[in-house]
Amino acid sequence: MVGDKTILLVEDNPADEALTLRALKKSGLASKVIVARDGAEALHHLFGAEAGEACRKLPDLILLDLKLPKLGGHEVLKRNRADVRTQVIPVVILTTSREDEDRLEGYRVGANSYVRKPVDFHEFSEAVLQLGLYWLVLNEQPPQSRV
């Protein structure tokens, strides 16, 4: 089932974090959600600053906001795609911006999806549910990295 899947949520706004967690909880899709509150924290989680942490289980899906303190979402994604360990993890940009440039840059640096957060919470919950269903259930995951 999906219960053992891990999601990394990169979100700096506590309210949005709470809403996303609430939506994920309602969907019942993921058992584990890790939250990173800025770009640096996200990278730290993915690559680990200390030795020996490389074997830690990597997330099955990353939900990435674009406007983040310290390191922006695009930069996080770019580094993600540059590393052989993390380059295959599905990344969904989940953000408020719908500017052409943000979308274009997002796909250019390797986003798998780009979703704009709806204001209506019903719609938002629906969007999170659809995303989870698609990326964690329907979509065939890449084989676990052998590196």
């Binding site: 309210a15 949005d16 809403l19 408020t96 209506d120 919470f121």
Partner: protein, 677 residues
């Protein structure tokens, strides 16, 4: 390639000598000894220059000149008259008939060749001229049109005016390279007109050409006084008039070249004016011997007439003459800007102090008693010419300095303008970037709190709804509705700001299929709606498809919304088959009151209550901006309960569309509507 020079002279010696001189100077020459031969040569070949003797065995050189001036293919041909006649009458006749130069025999070969070169050069320049513009002022429409046509054929740009007043206005606007004005005009006359032009700093350099109705000398004199550079009698052959205008513009344009070359090499031309034939002949003989070219005039009138058509280096003027006397001639001469620098030496029989003072008072530069030896006269003339030459040189240097200063100033100004423009462009770019980042912030930062308001209101409803009474739950619903409405407002305002940014990418756009997609999307979003949709086939327009999609989304979206309460909803998209291609979206929905039609296209203007039809009131403003960016216009008709029609044009994209000025005029009465989107 240089065109050949035609030599027409009955003297074999002159022909051969000129031929050799021209060939040595690298010019090809054709020689003729009679008018008949010359006619044949002129019919076959286009010449750069014709050197023409006045007295020919089978005719008159001036008559041949008149024929040349009437030949269309010889419009650029320069003519130099060569004559043993030193008589003023012949000179005037030759020059007024359109000769570019008049040289007396015996000629100075160096000077003659120098001048021939100049004339060939200026003629060559004339064949591919920068288009010179002339302002033509005449109250007779017939004459004006005839002359205008002839001038245009000769390659000039022509502006016309029917009165002096109109001419002055036009002159200030178009800054012509030359002015041709009729002497007799209603309102201010030709002479006054020229005087006004001479007072205008921007125009005083423009050569002025006066047209007179008759051979009336007084009109010409007053024109000369007013500062006309040349004149012609209207009854003359129009070809002659045009040739003279050409000569005037040439001499205005090539003055510095002439001063710098031939005239400084050539014999000094002296005009001697005396009513005594004997004295004139003696004077001429004495000066001829010194290498001066002497032109003889019998009266002040004749002298002024000649000076209007030919420059001289010095004027010897008898004080006592019938008609206008020496003093008056001198006074008039000194009034003309182009003549006032010519030194005037007054000759008088009486040698008293009084006369001397009077002469100098009239503007004469020197004064000499007739009883004096001719040696003395010669010395005085030489001194005056030397003085004038030095002044000319100084003036040339001054002018060059001024011109250089002017050019430098112009370059500085151009640089300043360029710098200012660059600074403005940079500032504009900064502002645009600021606006972009502002819009971005609005989009991103205003939406986030709204999501929290909505999300947590819902969380509150779901988690603690049981603890709230009906009012409490209702309030939370209001909170959520408001948050969602504000989100839509933000989106619509952003869309509005986006349509005015970026390039307008016109291209062939299939409006019918765009409309079809909009209807499909609306149907998918509200599957329960049943709307009778009619879209005309094959509507194609030259417009920006991205922006027109927004237009159709709004107009059709409105129609869809406002027909929401009807069971027989019908929406039609089409184009009216009129001469300006008017596109329309028609519905049979709620409609609107025409009394409020003017409020349709205002930001946040809504004609319906939010409870009836929701909306932000920004959609139609966006639509109007897009239509305006295309150069089109939009208007609406409606009736409460009966429906609404929105019409728009896309101007440039409309085949056979009417010019935008007319469109503006119509849109004065056009109506606008809002709606909501």
């Amino acid at each position: 390639m240089t065109l050949p020079v035609l030599i027409v002279d009955d003297s074999m010696t002159v022909r051969m000598s000129l031929n050799d001189l021209l060939e040595d100077a690298g010019l090809e020459a054709v020689v003729c000894s009679t008018v008949a031969e010359a006619r044949l040569a002129l019919a076959e070949t286009t010449f750069a220059l014709v050197i023409l003797d006045v007295l020919l065995p089978d005719g008159d050189g001036v008559d041949l000149l008149r024929e040349i001036r009437a030949m269309p293919h010889a419009a650029a041909t320069a003519v130099m008259m060569l004559s043993t006649e030193s008589e003023v009458r012949d000179r005037i006749r030759g020059l007024t008939t359109g000769a570019d130069e008049y040289v007396g025999k015996p000629y100075d070969p160096t000077y003659l060749i120098g001048r021939a070169h100049e004339l060939v050069r200026s003629g060559a320049g004339r064949t591919s001229p920068e288009k010179e513009t002339l302002l033509l002022i005449d109250d007779s429409v017939t004459f004006r049109e005839e002359l205008k046509e002839a001038l245009e054929q000769a390659g000039y740009g022509v502006f016309v005016a029917g009165s002096g007043e109109e001419g002055l206005r036009l002159a200030a606007d178009v800054r012509p390279s030359g002015i041709v004005v009729d002497g007799v005009l209603p309102g201010i006359d030709g002479a006054t007109f020229i005087r006004r032009i001479r007072l205008d700093a921007a125009l005083r350099g423009a050569p002025c050409f006066l047209l007179t109705g008759t051979e009336d000398k007084s009109a010409e004199l007053s024109a000369l006084e007013a500062g006309a550079d040349a004149f012609a009698v209207k009854e003359d052959n129009i070809g002659i008039v045009i040739a003279r205008i050409g000569a005037m513009l040439r001499s205005a344009g090539h003055q510095p070249v002439r001063e710098a070359t031939a005239s400084s090499l050539g014999p000094k031309r002296v005009l001697a004016v005396d009513d005594s034939e004997t004295y004139l002949q003696q004077l001429a003989a004495s000066l001829d011997a010194e290498g001066y070219e002497v032109v003889l005039a019998r009266s002040g009138e004749e002298a002024l007439e000649l000076l209007a058509v030919q420059q001289v280096e010095c004027v010897l003027l008898d004080l006592v003459m019938p008609g206008i006397d020496g003093r008056e001639t001198c006074r008039r001469l000194k009034l003309v800007p182009t003549l006032r620098d010519i030194p005037v030496v007054m000759l008088t029989a009486v040698d008293d102090r009084e006369t001397m003072i009077q002469s100098l008072g009239a503007g004469a530069d020197d004064y000499i008693a007739k009883s004096s030896e001719f040696d003395l006269v010669r010395a005085r003339v030489m001194a005056q010419i030397r003085r004038k030459q030095i002044e000319d040189e100084h003036r040339t240097i001054r002018e060059q300095l001024l011109r250089a200063e002017f050019e430098a100033q112009k370059a500085r100004t151009a640089l300043e303008v360029a710098e200012t423009r660059a600074a403005l462009a940079e500032e504009l770019q900064l502002k645009n970037e600021e606006l972009e980042s502002f819009s971005y912030s609005v989009a991103h930062d205003l939406r986030a709190p709204l999501r929290s308001i909505d999300g947590f209101s819902l969380a509150l409803l779901e988690d603690c709804g049981d603890n709230l009474d009906d009012d409490g739950r209702k309030y939370l619903h209001y909170v959520r509705d408001s948050a969602q409405h504000m989100a839509r407002l933000i989106d619509d305002l952003l869309a509005l700001s986006r349509v005015t940014r970026g390039e307008l990418n016109r291209g062939e756009t299939h409006l019918s299929s765009l409309a079809g997609s909009v209807f499909s999307r609306l149907q998918r979003a509200t599957p329960d709606r049943k709307v009778d949709v009619v879209v005309a086939d094959g509507i194609v327009a030259d417009c920006d498809d991205r922006l027109l999609t927004i237009v159709l989304e709004n107009l059709i979206g409105n129609a869809w919304k406002f027909t929401g309460k009807r069971h027989d909803a019908r929406i039609e998209v089409g184009v009216m088959d009129d001469d300006q291609r008017t596109y329309f979206v028609r519905d049979n929905g709620a409609g609107f009151d025409m009394a409020y039609a003017s409020k349709l296209f205002g930001v946040f203007q809504r004609l319906h209550s939010a409870t009836d039809f929701e909306g932000t009131g920004i959609g139609l403003v966006t639509v109007q901006r897009i239509i305006r960016r295309h150069g089109g216009r939009i208007w609406a008709q409606g009736q409460v309960g009966q429906g609404a029609v929105f019409y728009f044009t896309l101007e440039n994209g409309s085949p056979g569309g009417i010019p935008s000025r007319t469109q503006e005029a119509i849109s004065g009465q056009c109506i606008s509507r809002d709606a909501a989107a």
